[in-house]
């Protein structure tokens, strides 16, 4: 979305703009609306916790849409597919108590996973424990994320388990800069949801005339 305003200040986007844009970007890529809503909320969740969301969420959106096909053995589900569906399914299965552990063997990036876990924690009134490595733990709650220095966590499989809900006041970070290239790519994808205008749609689609000088 272009804006032509004159401004001499750092452009920082509102959480609502980020949520809406990422949801529309997901829709633009053909994700179902219920899932796109999840991605939008995940982006806003991350931003509110001071974690940059655009690149990680965009990466998941563009990774493809392989359906999650968990292999469930006893109380553990192993999900091998690298897809946003897998992350969402992992938290659904845990919250429904279908399984007690989920192993995402090829997860989407950790920040996106945290965002989706945060949304699920809010939606299901619980928390989630993510273990990206044997020694590092990330605890995700409705309003807070507790994690070690993320730079030191290697990529690889992530296991997830359910935690009880923890009450806390919302942690709301200041707005911060976004990665310009990733943001513009997101806007480009979001614009795929728009219908090209025609003279007929201009005249008839809104049910109103073109001048109001009465």
């Amino acid at each position: 979305m272009a804006f032509s305003g004159a401004w001499r200040f750092q452009v920082r986007y509102s959480f609502n703009e980020i949520e809406t844009t990422m949801r529309k970007a997901a829709l633009g890529l053909g994700w179902p609306d219920g899932i796109a809503e999840q991605f939008g909320r995940a982006a806003a969740y991350l931003e509110r916790r001071g974690i940059r969301s655009i690149e990680p969420i965009l990466a998941v959106l563009e990774q493809g849409k392989s359906p999650a096909r968990p292999i469930i053995v006893s109380e553990t589900a192993v999900i091998p597919e690298r897809s946003g569906f897998s992350a969402i399914a992992a938290f659904d299965l845990l919250a429904a108590r279908v399984v007690r552990h989920v192993e995402l063997t090829d997860p989407c990036n950790l920040d996106a996973l945290i965002g989706l876990a945060g949304v699920a924690a809010k939606e299901f009134s619980c928390g989630f424990l993510l273990k990206p490595t044997r020694d590092s733990l990330v605890r995700v709650y409705e309003n807070r994320v507790y994690r070690p220095d993320i730079q030191n966590i290697p990529s690889g499989s992530v296991s997830a388990t359910l935690l009880p809900r923890r009450e806390s006041l919302p942690e709301v970070a200041e707005r911060h800069d976004v990665n310009s290239a990733a943001w513009h790519r997101s806007l480009e994808l979001a614009s795929l949801t728009l219908v090209p205008t025609t003279d007929a749609s201009r005249r008839l689609g809104a049910g109103a005339g073109l001048r109001d000088n009465d």
Binding site: F3, G5, R41, D92, F124, S201, A206, G207, A208, D214
Partner: protein, 567 residues
């Protein structure tokens, strides 16, 4: 901030129950709602009155033609808020109320605090650009308004000659300017709602937007008086009763409908609180003398209000004429009821039930009005921080049963009939204007907005019926992730029974203005004036207290306003 589910603690739990959602939430029925004392504009003016709010105008830099800038500041709940107003010349060829407009007579921002010179410079560069400008978290609302050209010019000219405007014209039009968009909640960089969500006096639904509109209305009064004063040597000011009657117009298109579908819990809260208020009033065993007297006065005012409600649309005018006749009949029958007998208000409500749905809704507003002490606390239910939720542990069998029990309105639609899918809702690339298309004629249905709730519920029902009844929703969604949105909506209806508009919004016979009127009634709009099946004009804050009268004793007495009543 509350979100009221059907089983929430604190719900009204004795006396008469609320009306049934399957009766109230039909599209045609929500298109009959009227403003009432829990409407957001009323909530705002009560808060302003309670606080003894004073509006200051620290900046007024306007030339003789009324072009320039102004700032109004008012304090509420311990926070100052400032309306920054910019007025510019507008070529009539560019004056349109639609979203596709690129320029406006006046543009506004509601600033959180008092803007300094640097803020003003930034706002003066960006506010006139509206959607193309860029804003910061210190701005709460962005809006614009165009003059009602004939009305504005008439009033300016009359005042310039030391005369008051023609009362018939004032009654018929009722405002000097129309807002054509009011943006908040993070749009274009504005503050996210959470910035003000816990502030006293402003945290309810759309309260910052209402504050901006109320200030814009006052600005429109000042602007016309300023122009008149510059034109004539013996100019007059607006007479207080005319000033109070003059509201602010609003033109509204399709955008409000997707909002209602996209915010089901908010919709539930609004309707639920109104229905709870009605149930409380119906349950009053002994009507007080004061409330009966007030109600009778309102019946009389309501009649005159309906007489002053004139529109060009023939169907709408027929409905108004019907309302007038029904109100006469109702008043006669109400007069025959003895208020001293028990449950007077419920008896009146039952009388209204023998009349049209539109009259019943009119009557709801009348019945609530004398009972502020009983119902005003419900205004705190209007906002919600709760988002729609999924229950992944529910079994497919239970969900299927819930669909059978609660979604007959969706399951009974015959989607094989072409007419039942004629409409599609979409967003145009042209300034993101929401539009409605004909699926069998127009391009773009592959990009339709996901507001086809009934259609999706049917799809969910069919798929669930073929699923293992014992599997959980979590397992079901592994196979059918595309149905996540539908599952979420279906489960929410169980907890929030007023959250869905119970009709098929794709049907060729669907009237989008019914949805617009629903939302506008909760804003407090009156004098609904349909311009097509998808475009409507209304008046806001007509009869509302002005900057000068917000502290007066009668500041909250303006349901169904009549010009002469404010003398």
């Amino acid at each position: 901030m509350n979100s009221l589910s059907a089983t929430s603690p604190g719900e009204y739990d004795s006396g008469f129950s609320r009306r049934r959602p399957d009766e109230i939430m039909k599209p045609y029925r929500i298109g009959m709602f009227f403003p009432h004392r829990l409407s957001f504009k009323r909530v705002l003016t009560r808060a302003l009155h309670r606080e003894g709010a004073k509006v200051n105008r620290p900046v007024w830099q306007m030339d003789a033609d009324g072009f320039g800038r102004a700032v109004y500041t008012v304090e509420l709940g311990g926070y100052p808020y400032s309306l920054v107003a910019i007025s510019k010349f507008l070529d009539p060829q560019r004056r349109t109320d639609r979203v596709i407009a690129e320029a406006w007579d006046t543009t506004f921002a509601l600033f959180d605090g008092v803007p300094d010179n640097r803020d003003m410079q930034r706002l003066e560069e960006n506010v006139p650009l509206q959607e193309s400008g860029r804003f910061e978290a210190s701005e709460l609302v962005l809006s614009r308004a165009n003059k009602s050209v004939r009305m504005f010019e008439h009033v300016a000219e009359r005042l310039a000659n030391g005369q008051q405007p023609d009362c018939e014209m004032i009654r018929r039009i009722g405002y000097l300017m129309r807002t054509t968009a009011v943006y908040g909640n993070g749009k274009f960089g504005l503050a996210d709602r959470e910035r003000i969500a816990r502030r006293t006096g402003i945290s309810g639904a759309f309260q910052v937007e209402m504050l901006a509109i109320w200030l814009i209305r006052g600005f429109s009064h000042d602007l016309v008086e300023h122009i008149a004063a510059k034109r004539g040597h013996s100019s007059a000011r607006l007479a207080p009763h005319i000033r109070r009657f003059l509201g602010i117009g609003n033109s509204t298109g399709l955008g409000m409908a997707p909002f209602l579908i996209g915010h089901p819990i908010l919709l539930h809260n609004w309707v639920f609180s109104r229905e709870t208020a009605l149930a409380r009033v119906r349950s009053i065993e002994t009507a007080s003398r004061e409330s009966v007297s007030r109600f009778r006065g309102l019946l009389s005012r309501g009649k005159r209000h309906l007489e002053e409600w004139l529109v060009e649309d023939e169907d709408a005018m027929t409905r108004i004429a019907c309302l007038r006749r029904e109100l006469d009949w109702f008043a006669d029958n109400a007069a025959a009821e003895n208020p001293g007998d028990g449950y007077y208000w419920n008896r009146l409500f039952l009388i209204s039930e023998s009349l049209s749905g539109e009259f019943q809704e009119f009557c709801v507003s009348l019945l609530l009005e004398p009972h502020g002490d009983l119902v005003d606390e419900l205004e705190s239910w209007s906002a919600s921080e709760i988002e729609t939720r999924l229950d992944p542990a529910m079994t497919a069998a239970d969900l299927l049963e819930q669909l059978r029990s609660n979604f007959q309105w969706a399951l009974s639609v015959d989607f094989d009939a072409a007419e039942s899918r004629r409409h599609f809702w979409y967003v145009s690339e042209e300034k993101l204007e929401p539009r409605l298309g004909d699926r069998y004629r127009d391009e773009g249905s592959d990009l339709e907005l996901p507001i086809d709730v009934a259609y999706r519920i049917q799809r969910l029902f069919r798929t669930l019926a073929e699923s293992n009844p014992a599997e959980t929703v979590a397992e079901f969604l592994l196979r059918c992730p595309e149905l996540r949105g539908a599952v979420r909506r279906a489960q929410n209806l169980i907890r929030y029974p007023f959250c869905e508009i119970r009709g098929n919004l794709l049907d060729g016979g669907c009237r989008p203005i019914d949805l617009l009127r629903c939302k506008l009634s909760f804003f407090g709009a009156s004098k609904f004036d349909p311009k097509s099946d998808r475009w409507i004009r209304v008046a806001l804050f007509q009869g509302a207290p002005t900057f000068d009268s917000i502290g007066d004793a009668g500041a909250d007495d303006w349901l169904f306003p009549v010009l002469g009543d404010f003398k």
